[in-house]
């Protein structure tokens, strides 16, 4: 009889490749390789009572307003998003020691305010530029102090030392209710 043969009959593995292909295509289609990325922000704790209007020295405040038409007002003057980063950097670092810019980086406060009708895209764009200003300043400071750019190569202590010199202070005011959709 055929069963009594010495070697067992081989299973045909020719279709294995097809099956694997099918699975492969399925995973190819469902894959989203890029990991979640974004701008990390720390919100201030909630308090019922409105913050007391502490009087700040005007030179230390860099006010940025984004209105419902996505127009920009920086220090009470219309401004362009393309040089916001440069202006913010100059304001924080104040390399020329000007009278109208922040006295020291530790005293600098960036105040961001938007309308409820501002688009999220415009808001995030502005936030991105302000964050970029700080990131670049941290980079420069890190180059000066440790000779490497601000990255994970630094220890936590070194990072904290830089952040102590140039603290990230961005205060967001409650938005005004212009131009909301509902």
């Amino acid at each position: 009889m055929a069963r009594d043969k010495k070697s067992a009959p081989e299973v045909n593995a020719g279709s294995m490749a097809d099956i694997a292909f099918l699975l492969l295509i399925f995973f190819l289609v469902t894959t989203t390789i890029d990991a979640d990325k974004g701008i990390t922000v720390k919100l201030p704790p909630w308090s019922e009572e409105p913050p007391d209007p502490t009087k700040l020295n005007e030179r230390n405040v860099f006010s940025v307003l984004v209105n419902a038409n996505d127009q920009l007002l920086v220090r009470d003057e219309p401004a362009d998003i393309n040089n916001l980063r440069e202006r913010a950097k100059e304001f924080i670092a104040n390399p020329q020691g000007r009278e109208d810019l922040a006295a020291t980086p530790t005293k600098a406060i960036i105040s961001l305010k938007n309308d409820r009708g501002t688009t999220y895209k415009a808001y995030l764009n502005v936030y991105n530029e302000l964050k970029a200003a700080y990131d670049e300043l941290w980079d420069e400071e890190s180059q000066r102090m440790y000779g490497v750019p601000y990255s994970d190569a630094l220890t936590t202590d070194q990072k904290n030392a830089i952040k102590k010199k140039i603290p990230f202070v961005l205060s967001e005011a409650e938005p005004t209710s212009f131009g909301d959709e509902d």
Partner: protein, 163 residues
């Protein structure tokens, strides 16, 4: 010399395809490992904005996601076209309460020592207005969830311009 000629004659030898399944399997396993399956149904349309100062969200288990956008076509007849907030797989109607509950439910799955490291990722459509985003932010502050991340995709053009 005639000896060699004889060998070359006849049909061309076939390329062996025996290792093809192995190659395909290797690719298959690669994609299986990197695949992130979408959990639940997405009921709002979200195209996140572009930005340059991005940080990666490291630990997936410590991240919960809030979606903000307009309802997809399927749901527009019921929920209209105004931007809405999606938590898990439901539309939220009472933001403050729903977000607090949503955060608590996520905390149950996380080790208590790591609660301080939980990050809320806000995946908002680029064209929604700040009003609804602000409401979500306020709700998060009230629930004492202060670490958030505005989800965005890298803006390759701008990044290249800087370097």
């Amino acid at each position: 010399m005639a000896h060699f000629k004889k060998k070359r004659g006849n049909a061309t030898p076939e390329v062996s395809t025996a290792s093809l399944p192995d190659i395909i399997f290797m690719l298959l396993f690669f994609f299986m490992v990197v695949t992130v399956m979408r959990e639940g149904e997405r009921k709002v349309q979200v195209v996140v904005p572009q930005a340059t100062q991005l940080e990666k969200l490291e630990k997936k288990s410590l991240v919960n996601t809030i979606y903000i956008g307009r309802p997809t076509k399927k749901y527009q007849s019921i929920y209209g076209t105004q931007p809405r907030v999606q938590l898990d797989d439901k539309f939220s109607n009472h933001l403050d309460g729903d977000i607090a509950l949503f955060l608590e439910q996520h905390k149950l799955k996380v080790n208590e020592q790591l609660w301080g490291q939980i990050i809320t990722s806000i995946r908002a459509d680029r064209d929604v207005t700040m009003g609804i985003v602000q409401d979500v932010k306020t709700a998060l502050r009230k629930a004492n969830q202060l670490k958030i991340n505005y989800s965005a995709t890298p803006d390759a053009e701008k990044m290249n311009a800087m370097n």
